[in-house]
């Protein structure tokens, strides 16, 4: 397969970036998108050029590291997959593929296609946890009865891998889907109730501080999320936030 790649190149956070064009040949349909970029980088290194920098780690769709905007969509044209799970068979010989970093003021570019997503970490640190005394007397979580539907919904929210596709897809660069998934996974469980009020207030405050945009319910985040995180989580977070605000 012969392709033309148009890739965002940016030396560092301060430099002005630009789209550069690279022809590439010998791409097989069974290759993953990242393997295709590996081939490109070998080609660039052999030519004495700088390889394209991009985030990746597990390459099996669970770490949330890979984060590419491919032909105008986060993680490319396929649904419910991350960039590392996207196969080149989704493209045709002769295609031009535009590859950019996820764009948001809160996700500054580090270099080329690599972005700084530590804003998500700070939102998590603001309250996305349960404080448990692990002195040795902790009650086994399995001993606490949990409604099956709540357990399933909590687990579904917890499958968010924090890749940032929701922010990348949203026309407003809003982080509501991510934050709401992290709020929901605890809000639905008995263990999460003790800190529920402070959790949602702190996480939303941190989300706003980071400079993400406002949610306008376009639903683009849900469509592009590789883990299928539901918009129901945003409604739940809104309820939790309103309830917490009234409690003070």
């Amino acid at each position: 397969m012969k392709l033309t790649l148009k890739i965002w190149r940016q030396e560092n956070n301060k430099a002005k970036g630009e789209i550069k064009t690279y022809p590439i040949d010998g791409i097989e349909g069974d290759m993953s998108f990242l393997e295709m970029l590996d081939v490109l980088n070998e080609q660039l290194i052999n030519q004495g050029d700088n390889p394209v920098v991009f985030d990746h780690d597990c390459r099996e769709g669970i770490c949330g590291s890979c984060s590419l905007q491919i032909n105008g969509e986060p993680h490319g044209p396929d649904r419910l997959v991350t960039t590392c799970q996207l196969h080149m068979r989704k493209f045709s010989d002769g295609d031009t593929i535009v590859i950019e970093p996820f764009r948001a003021k809160a996700f500054p570019v580090v270099k080329d296609l690599m972005i700084d997503r530590s804003a998500f970490d700070r939102i998590q640190h603001a309250g996305g946890y349960i404080s448990v005394n692990t002195s040795g007397n902790t009650i086994d979580a399995n001993a606490i009865p949990v409604n099956k539907e709540d357990a399933d919904n909590s687990f579904a929210a917890a499958t968010c891998i924090g890749c940032g596709a929701c922010v990348a897809a949203c026309k407003n660069a809003s982080a509501m889907l991510f934050t709401s998934a992290k709020v929901s996974q605890y809000a639905l469980l008995p263990q999460g109730q003790v800190e529920a009020t402070q959790r949602v207030l702190s996480m939303v405050e941190q989300m706003d501080k980071e400079g993400f945009g406002n949610c306008t319910n376009t639903g683009a985040c849900e469509v592009e999320c590789p883990k299928g995180i539901s918009l129901e989580n945003i409604a739940r977070m809104n309820r939790e936030y309103l309830s917490a605000s009234l409690k003070g």
């Binding site: 105008g72 535009v98 948001a104 706003d208 400079g211 592009e224 809104n238």
Partner: protein
């Protein structure tokens, strides 16, 4: 940061002001429909709305506040959202994951705002001049004739039709989305969304029908 500047509080405020305006649109259409069904009833209801102390002194200021708040907050949020992505994508396929109506609320909103300017110029300002500047004695039978006359000009009717088309787009996303904003997303949401989408179509179509009906059923010149 506080609740006033919180993104969720602002989103809820937009939803609640929007729901209030949605309710107002329904009430406005009901009154307008009488212009087609019964001119006498239209005159009677218009006289009531234009002269009742509660409507004029309390409901009208609340309505104006609702409109201004919805517009100003919408504009503030749009500016904030635009600044949240300083560097734009070279390739962005918004249509693959969200509807045109949901992605362009600011455009449909600005068209509706422009329409409101025309609507105030057509009805509200002449009414204020009639009542408070020229101080004409109240005539409860004048409303129908004045309204029909307004729709004589086909350009005005065309502007109204286009504006109501954009209103339908605005309501198509805004009405259903407001329930999500206030946290209502459960087993009843599918039915509620269907109702909201039907409302988003029927209300503007109703206004369009009345505008065209009045244009086609002009009164004889002697009655102007």
């Amino acid at each position: 940061m506080g609740i006033i500047s919180s993104s969720i509080a602002r989103k809820v405020a937009m939803a609640l002001s929007g729901l209030f305006l949605v309710f107002f649109l329904g009430q406005h259409l009901v009154i307008n429909t009488t212009a087609v069904l019964s001119p006498d009833t239209f005159n009677s209801w218009s006289h009531f709305m234009g002269n009742n102390g509660l409507v004029q002194g309390l409901l009208q200021p609340i309505l104006i506040f609702g409109v201004v708040f919805h517009f100003v907050m919408g504009f503030v949020l749009e500016l904030k959202n635009r600044s949240s992505r300083a560097v734009k994508y070279a390739s962005y396929k918004g249509a693959t994951n969200a509807s045109w109506a949901s992605r362009n609320m600011i455009i449909s909103g600005l068209v509706i705002l422009s329409f409101l300017g025309l609507h105030f110029y057509d009805f509200w300002i002449p009414e204020m001049i009639h009542k408070y500047v020229e101080s004409h004695p109240e005539d409860p039978t004048r409303y129908y004739t004045e309204t029909v006359h307004k729709f004589e000009n086909p350009v005005r009717v065309g502007l109204y039709v286009v504006s109501f088309g954009l209103l339908a787009m605005h309501l198509w996303h805004g009405f259903a989305s407001s329930f999500q904003s206030v946290g209502f997303n459960n087993k009843y949401s599918v039915a509620l969304t269907r109702f909201a989408k039907a409302y988003a179509i029927l209300i503007p179509v109703g206004f369009i029908f009345i505008a065209i009906y009045l244009h086609l059923n002009q009164l004889p010149p002697s009655s102007h």
